[in-house]
Amino acid sequence: MRMDHERKRIKAALERELESVRLPRNVSDRVMRAAERKLPVWEKELTLPLPVLVCVLALFIGSFVVMADSPAEPVPAPSSYATKTIILDSGVFAEASLPPNH
């Protein structure tokens, strides 16, 4: 009850104070001129539909997740074959794979 009374009192005071505050004529004219201007197509279509927005965001976040998961240093693939360095007669080093049961 007291709140309602307070609300009415404040509203009345504000309405009294703002009585002389009116939308200037030149603003309405500016709005009318701007409204008559045709919008370019891209500006009209600027609003993204929600599913498209979600897909774009998912792609963006997904790329970060993939990047975070990939190791900075490449890990060598484990090999079941042992390797042996052979020095050839020519003095050139060569590597040869040995069978696993060697």
Binding site: R7, K11, V21, L23, V27, R30, V31, M32, A34, A35
Partner: protein, 183 residues
């Protein structure tokens, strides 16, 4: 109400005359709301212009469930909020310069008369408090309606409203005392 539905229908068809009629009918309300929230006539003009243009171009998004005036007001409040956000960035960057310029300056007679008014005191409140006070007291919106319009929880709106009310009371009491001691 019927005339409002008809007006919205004409706006949807892109009639320019309907836009002029909308401004005739709701122009003062939108402009006063923007002025109460921003405290500056130039900014209020810009926000009013943006509000009517947004309404004209996005009339397809008005679902007709609530009052058209309320929808317009929500657009105006959103524009005011983004202006305030931009202004706060500017203030943050220019604070030092402003402090140097205003240091020691006494308020002029115009400023004193603005501050003595209720609207002037509302403008002294921080922006989020100003927003709920204007919507609750000037536009008669309930806590639930404000929460829906601002996209905030009812609890947040309720606590902001009670803090804003307390601060406004302090400001009004202080102004009354200062006025009394000056007289």
């Amino acid at each position: 109400l019927n005339s409002e539905v008809e007006l919205v229908g004409r706006l949807r068809r892109g009639e320019h005359a309907a836009l002029a009629e909308v401004m005739e009918r709701f122009g003062d309300d939108v402009y006063r709301t923007a002025y109460l929230l921003l405290g500056d006539h130039h900014l209020a003009e810009d926000v009013s212009q943006d509000t009517f243009l947004t309404a004209y171009r996005k009339i397809g998004q008005f679902d007709g469930r609530g009052a058209f005036g309320g929808w317009l007001r929500s657009i105006a409040v959103n524009h005011c909020r983004s202006r305030m956000r931009r202004a706060s960035w500017k203030r943050l960057l220019l604070r030092r310069q402003d402090q140097m310029e205003t240091a020691g300056a006494a308020p002029g007679p115009e400023e004193i008369s603005v501050r003595r008014s209720l609207a002037g005191e509302i403008l002294q409140l921080p922006y989020p408090y100003r927003e709920v006070i204007v919507l609750h007291y000037y536009h008669d919106l309930t806590v639930k309606e404000i929460a829906e319009r601002l996209g905030q929880s009812e609890g947040t709106v309720k606590s902001r409203l009670s803090r804003a009310r307390r601060q406004l009371k302090v400001l009004l009491d202080g102004e009354e005392n200062a006025h009394g001691s000056r007289a």
